[in-house]
């Protein structure tokens, strides 16, 4: 029985695509060709370039300048244990590096192998990915490494002539964040009841309204509801409203066919359980007024693993769904307004 504090791991992962606009496209397209550039604006060369002068918000313009590939470290730190989001899997430095030809530093990695090799004033040079692997993103520069020859970069500070059309206009930005939430006392209360084959609500002592599902408070009276406010509600009711969703594809979407979610006004409880699935009625025949009863998973197959703080009334794997009782439909008009 899952009666201890449970933790829920939620991976927020999504492949975002960023369009770059002309300034970032120019930078990206040049970088993919192996050239780092900055832009001269407000009397200084900013590298990597911004679309706007950060001091005045004026458009930066297109006075492109070749910078690097060598530069000088002004300030640095050291990452002894990289995370999954850092580009290198071994200890490395981060530094502000003022590239030859630039007036402002850029932030990037410095791969020296050891912390003791890091120093302000050190000369470093960009180590780029192989041309075929470059996508025009800032991490096309794998890292900066100590410069073999500290002399100034050739051509740095000279104008860069951008092509009329940039070949890179977008970048991928993969989001990969992990969250670990823990079941709140209210969620645990709800999950436990479900495991025992009971649907519970909490009845507000002030307004007498019953709320089904794990909320822990009355949203009308703003008072906390706890175990003492639990009321058992019946696993029978009437479909009071529904939504039929035609799923659109997106990364992480689990549905492909239209699906229905129903609100059910529970018999004699003056309370609605939302977002429920009817098992034995085709989606096209879902209607208001159907009598339904809950279908529990067999006791030995029940798991509270999916019942987290966000599911707010979801039956997880424990409530398989609801099925019709065979009683004649109720008049829709009597139920339709009970969406909640």
């Amino acid at each position: 029985m899952a009666d201890t504090v449970q933790e829920f791991v939620f991976n927020l992962t999504f492949p975002f695509t960023r369009t770059l606009g002309s300034t970032l496209s120019t930078f990206s397209s040049a970088l993919a060709q192996g050239q780092i550039i900055g832009v001269r604006t407000g009397g200084r060369v900013i590298a990597p370039p911004l679309e706007y002068d950060p001091d005045t918000a004026a458009d930066s313009g297109t006075d492109w300048v070749r910078v690097g590939p060598k530069g000088t470290v002004s300030t640095w730190t050291w990452v002894p244990e990289p995370t999954n989001l850092h580009p290198l899997d071994h200890a490395f430095g981060f530094a502000f590096i003022t590239l030859d030809g630039a007036d402002t530093p850029m932030l990037h990695l410095v791969d020296t192998g050891s912390e003791s090799a890091m120093a302000a004033g050190m000369r470093v040079e960009a180590k780029l990915k192989a041309p075929a692997d470059r996508v025009g993103r800032i991490d096309d520069i794998i890292a900066f490494v100590p410069a073999a020859d500290p002399s100034p970069s050739e051509g740095a500070g000279e104008p860069f002539v951008a092509p009329e059309e940039n070949d890179i206009t977008e970048m991928d930005a993969y989001c990969d964040l992990q969250y670990v939430d823990n079941a709140s006392p209210t969620t645990i209360m709800w999950a436990k009841a479900l495991m025992e084959g009971r649907i519970i609500g909490q009845k507000c002592p002030q307004c007498d309204r019953t709320i089904v599902g794990p909320r822990g408070m009355c949203s009308v009276c703003a008072i906390e509801l706890d175990e003492s406010h639990i009321v058992e509600v019946p696993g029978r009711g009437v479909v009071s409203n529904f939504t039929i969703v035609t799923p659109t594809p997106y990364p992480g979407q689990t549905e492909t066919e239209p699906f229905a979610r129903c609100s059910i006004l529970l018999d004699g409880a003056d309370a609605v359980i939302a977002q429920q699935e009817i098992l034995d009625v085709p989606v096209s025949e879902i209607r208001v007024g159907i009598h339904v009863e809950v279908v529990w998973a067999p006791e030995n197959e029940r798991s509270a693993a999916d019942i987290d703080n966000r599911s707010r009334g979801s039956g997880g794997d424990i409530i398989v769904g609801w099925r019709t009782t065979g009683e004649p439909d109720e008049p829709a008009a009597r139920y339709l307004d009970r969406m909640m």
């Binding site: 050291w78 989001l85 822990g216």
Partner: protein, 356 residues
Amino acid sequence: MAPTENDIAIVGFAQLPPERRTNLTESDLVLRSTREVIAQVGIDKSEIGFTVSGSCDYLSGQGFSFVQNTDAYGMVPAINESHVEMDGAFAMYEAYVRLLQGDIDIAMAVGVGKNSNSDPSTLFTVEFDPYYLTPLGTDTWTLAALQARALIDSGKATERDFAEVVARNRANAKSNPFAQVKGDYSVDELLAADYVRNPLRRHDLPPTTDQAAAVILARGKRAYDLCERPAWITGIDHRIEAHLPTVRKDITTSVSTRLAAEAAGVGKGPIDVAEIHAPFSFQELILRESLGLDASTEVNPSGGALAAHSVMTVGLIRVGEAANQIIKNGKNRTLAHTTSGPCLQQNLVCVMEGDQ
């Protein structure tokens, strides 16, 4: 002072105990903190003319997380309500501006952050420049460490100074029942620890905290109905600077803090107590200088952000702590500060005064 209808005060403050990991939801935390502050000032929720909260979807990992949090207000009948994706101190600022409209007398501002759901070493990568910083996994500790190194190289401070900030805040926190990290630590003991990001050690970094807090503000004479000695807000302002630390002229100082402090009138008189939100130890040194504080000001008697650091709540707690110095502790003029963004990008300064 004889308050005018445009004078606004903090009249109540409640915070929940900070926890490394609460098993409550953000909504639960909002309910408990708001119930407490409402009871403290002895009003009915229906007397609150405006309610506003500060929280952040990315911290808890839930889109529209603030929507569920509003369940805690009991919004029947409907209320005037708003939300900022900023620290509760900025919610307090919106409440302050709302009260200045003159049609309501009492407002409530809330901050809530269930920070333990996310990992601070990775989460804030998505708060930074999405083109130049996020793809490198640039983390908040790294940016702070770069700033700390620049501060050391400027000759303004040493690692020992950082450790002294930590030791003092943790010692101060011993008398704060709402501190998560507290105790007596020797500077040498602290300096013996390994670096997490050179020159920063674990103790130079903020703790991870789940917490909520709420304040009640009142306008004009109404404040005296709710509080014997209101903390009048005599100056408040906030400023932001360029996002990329690499394009700022000098990251060993905080221009935005200085500008906000000037606009809030910090220098118009002595500050008895300052509650400064310095997530990283060394930032307290930068902020003291940029706020224009001298040795006569007591800084962070609560232990500050190093004692508890619930992002989205920590700034509002600075406001509440500074207000309580006036409301409960007889101080005359106090300051609250909060910061946001990489290397102190954005800063809010609030000066409060008590009746003499």
